[in-house]
Symmetry: C2
Subunit: 236 residues, 2 copies
């Protein structure tokens, strides 16, 4: 999930660079996040700085996004600037990655381009991918009653993971609360199960759909052999 991508600690904001005012300015890269400064409550230790990028990178990312979305819309730099109510020179700078736009400027550009800010700050990706039944790295409980395969991890900027689950009757799977704000969409495919928040679990049959908070203890208890389900875990 999103949160596992984050490590604790401080970040120093990059000094902005005015390229047109000539060189000699300190490089705009952030100092990164101290790798050892994880919070006490963090479940995992990850190499932090490698995962988070820098302030300079977000500026470059937005630059690429602006150009990409503008070309996608098939309009000129001049026209986009006009629509957004922004100076041509400003947009030229932003697209070249030599600016550091304000929130209002970004907003105006997003509106003119008809894309949400999320897409500007965090570009997408794509391709065709097949994972067969039985394939994929499965997470299992000790008695192997419960097995979950993550099919699609949360890409940057999105807020969901997609799992295929297969479980046998026996020990119910009790999940600790996930990060605050997490919800889970569960679709039961085959078999029967008791699922949902620990204190309000619901009996489900094939085709049933349940939405519940994932930031409280929740269970998945298979009532029949080879009970299968799809879970979309979403960080709201």
């Amino acid at each position: 999930m999103i949160d596992v991508n984050w490590a604790g600690g401080d970040v120093t904001r990059a000094g902005g660079t005015r390229a047109r005012r000539g060189a000699g300015t300190p490089a705009g890269s952030a100092e990164g996040v101290p790798a050892g400064a994880a919070d006490a409550g963090t479940e995992m230790e990850i190499p932090a700085a490698a995962r988070m990028g820098t302030a300079a990178e977000i500026v470059a990312t937005v630059a690429r996004s602006l150009r990409r979305e503008r070309e996608r819309a098939g309009i000129s730099l001049t026209e986009l600037a006009r629509r957004a109510g922004v100076a041509k020179s400003t947009l030229s700078q932003l697209e070249s990655g030599s600016g550091n736009p304000s929130l209002e400027t970004l907003w105006a550009l997003g509106v003119a381009l008809r894309v949400p800010l999320a897409r500007l700050v965090d570009p997408p990706r794509r391709g065709v991918q097949l994972i067969r039944a039985g394939e994929g790295a499965a997470m299992r409980t000790e008695g192997a009653e419960y097995s979950a395969v993550m099919l699609a991890a949360c890409p940057p900027g999105a807020r969901r993971d997609l799992y295929r689950v297969r479980a046998q009757p026996g020990a119910p799977y009790v999940a600790r609360p996930h990060v605050a704000g997490t919800v889970e969409h569960l679709i039961l495919c085959t078999g029967r199960a008791l699922a949902g928040p620990e204190d309000e679990a619901v009996g489900l049959g094939p085709g049933d759909y349940l939405l519940y908070p994932g930031d409280v203890p929740h269970v998945f208890d298979a009532l029949e052999p080879d009970t299968t389900a799809v879970i979309v875990m979403e960080d709201t």
Copy 2:
């Protein structure tokens, strides 16, 4: 999907207001989008300004988000500012809605708060919900071979719809291309089907997972009776 939320036309960027510099400055509200100024190429005419918010509103939204996320993290304004490498006075201003932060400043704050920018610019919501098999408004093809129920529509800021599908052999379901950038995650639950992009459809069995672009013509052809699947349609 996301795209339908946007109307065409120009936006005038708000003149930033520095509240602490006293009154006499023109109000910081955007002039809004001229409702009548739709592009010639615009598919829809919608009451534009009512749907899009204003630059001043995004600033207020971010202000609320910063305070919410900081309180959620249980740290003081002073501590967050320190972690982000931002002046206390800057953060105080931003949280009070009287600022207009730069991208780098927002980035640094997001890193320090461990939340993506998307969550800062577009807050979430939640609840518990159950939809039984057979319930829910189903979209059907003419011969009723293919039936899809939307379980969870795309909330603002997220980019996915969640469907439960049930189909019979017979007429294959051919979907027109969705909005550019759409991908579909398909998990086959029961039965067998041929699915994916029209020119590279794949045979799938129970538990198989397929990811493919949804912005090209794609098919779902049930090969056995009562074939069921879950589809997560995502706008990347």
